[in-house]
Amino acid sequence: MPDYNTMELMICTASRELEDGASVGVGTGAPCAAAMLAQKIHSPNLIIVFEAGGVAPLIPEMPISVGDSRTTWKAIMASGMCEIMETACRGMLDYTFLGGAQIDMYGNLNSTRIGTDHQKPKVRFPGSGGANDFGSFCWRMMVMTPQDSKRFVEKVSYCTTPGWLSGGDSRAKSGLPLGAGPYKIITNMAVMDFEPESKRMRVIALNPGYSVKDVQDNCGFELLKAKKIVENHAPTKEELHMLRDVIDPYRYVIGR
């Protein structure tokens, strides 16, 4: 058995996507852990921003809210919602990490409801929060989520946050800023991107111990497969040490 869990694996894989000097909008939990890990391992100049207003903090430990004191610790600015989202809309936020109860083959996300009656939903979730905003504006949207056919559905029952909408050029036609959209989907089994023409989800890398069949068996729609599928490396000792001993010592995120 590997000496790391699913969450640790996803966080480490995700953190390697954030190059030094880039900017990223994050929420609490796993996305924040990935950004902090990147900042501590290979991207000391990573600009982390929080929707509530924190800009470029040197986060000492896991925030519990995107607006708590930790999100402005040694930050360069304590601003507000409009400043952050206007910065994103202006084109200055490179990445964001989002999540949801459902994701479909075009990377659309549902964090609003299950059921068809909007005024009386079967199951109500929090809604967009800042997800629709970051997902509309940040150049590259990424998602970290367990590979599960209940989450990976053919069509989200409600599109809270835009992916590539109905594929092809549908997003470009919608009015959303051009050139921004879903970039990579990181699960415990694999990493997916989106085929450039159809904008459909495509397997490009596998985590140690998983096959393409494993990924497809745990996905509610047909996945495209890249010509060359690479193997991700397992979390390193240094990554695990940072994650366990410095970033999340109380295991709020990685303990799950």
């Binding site: 929420g27 609490t28 939990g29 929707e51 509530a52 207003g53 924190g54 000492p60 925030p63 519990i64 809210s65 995107v66 607006g67 708590d68 004191s69 930790r70 402005t72 610790w73 304590a78 601003s79 507000g80 919602m81 409009c82 989202m85 809309c89 659309n108 609003t112 009656d117 909007h118 005024q119 009386k120 939903p121 079967k122 199951v123 109500r124 979730f125 929090p126 809604g127 967009s128 929060g129 800042g130 997800a131 629709n132 905003d133 509309s136 504006f137 409600y158 599109c159 809270t160 946050t161 835009p162 909408l165 549908s170 997003r171 919608s174 009015g175 959303l176 800023p177 709020y252 995120v253």
Partner: protein, 329 residues
């Protein structure tokens, strides 16, 4: 201007900028003492049926005393801006005080989990909802603060969030680009918790301002709770610190530890044990009823609530938690 596409959601407040101007024309510019109790402020300025906004960010710099008092005074049929709302939403759902809601973020308490009672309330069908995002609601406040009836933005389009909003897609007269027009949101009344205010309502805030700059200006009436009162001389000593000017403000209530059990930057950290207990008791209706009786309905004011939850010893512990953290533990 042609409307290309339109959401099906309701607009719960009137975006008309001239009607708002007529109201603000009559708003007092007098520099007068506005210090009063939270009880009096809620009685005087929040009425059944009003549309309200709560400042801060969920469990950070939130006017908890006002939220509790709204329940104690039994307000009903309010409208609510579910903008960055977490613990504030949880409190208001416990009293079922609102029946219409502009939703950006509700039910959740971020990394702490979801509120079972708030979720239940929103699944009953008793609340009319329109769907937005946090930035969309920020923009709606910003339009109102600027005295215009809408602002354009580039989010929402293409999604069900747009479909269930009251936004309208229009074309830019200069570039032909599509924009979503977001209607101005003028709340009847808002409550914001700040670090310091003078007796007239000039306010200072440390740390993030979230959307409070615009919420304060967009609101027809505004209740301020502050950690401490300061002198007008102190405000005038350095006006660059003033975030909200007095003429937006109707009531000033001094409430030390006023964001408890939430976080207040540079003052005290959130009481995570208490917030955890709150989420837990919500699963059992009898236990939750007793919990609300103890912490809200059976309390005279915010001091009594704090006293029942550890008093000054607890506050000191939360202060130290925040200070150790601020001092780079």
């Amino acid at each position: 201007m042609d409307v290309i596409e339109q959401g099906v959601g309701d607009i719960f407040t009137d975006p008309d900028a001239d009607k708002a101007r007529a109201f603000f024309r009559g708003k007092s510019r007098k520099m007068e003492n506005k210090v009063m109790s939270v009880k009096d402020a809620v009685a005087k300025f929040i009425h059944d049926g009003d549309y309200i906004t709560i400042g801060g960010f969920g469990a950070n710099r939130v006017p908890v005393a006002v939220c509790h008092e709204i329940l104690r005074q039994g307000r009903k049929k309010l409208g609510f801006a579910g903008h960055t709302s977490t613990h504030d939403f949880q409190i208001l759902c416990a009293g079922e005080v609102f029946d219409r809601c502009d939703i950006a973020y509700i039910i959740g308490l971020e990394a702490r989990g979801l509120s079972p009672n708030a979720r239940r309330y929103m699944e009953t069908g008793k609340v009319k909802v329109s769907e937005w995002s946090n930035y969309a609601l920020s923009v709606r406040f910003k339009a109102a603060a600027a005295g215009v009836s809408f602002y354009p933005a580039r989010n929402l389009m293409g999604t069900d969030t747009f479909k269930y909003s009251a936004g309208r897609i229009i074309e830019c007269p200069f570039t032909k680009t599509k924009y979503v027009a977001l209607p101005a949101l003028y709340p009847d009344v808002s409550a914001i918790h700040v670090h310091e205010a003078d007796m007239y309502g000039n306010c200072r805030v440390r740390g993030i301002t979230v959307s409070d700059f615009d919420v304060a200006r967009a609101s027809k009436r505004l209740i301020i709770t502050c950690e401490k009162l300061i002198s007008n001389e102190e405000i005038r000593r350095d006006p660059s610190y003033t975030v909200i000017p007095y003429w937006c403000v109707d009531a000033v209530c001094e409430v030390p530890y006023g964001s408890y059990p939430g976080n207040m930057l540079g003052e005290y950290f959130s009481d995570e044990e208490h917030l955890k207990e709150w989420l837990k008791v919500e699963s059992d209706p009898a236990e939750f009823k007793a919990f609300l009786e103890k912490n809200i309905y059976g309390c005279k004011d915010h001091f009594e609530y704090i006293l029942k939850n550890g008093g000054m010893a607890k506050m000191q512990m939360l202060r130290q938690k925040e200070m150790m953290f601020i001092g780079a533990r």
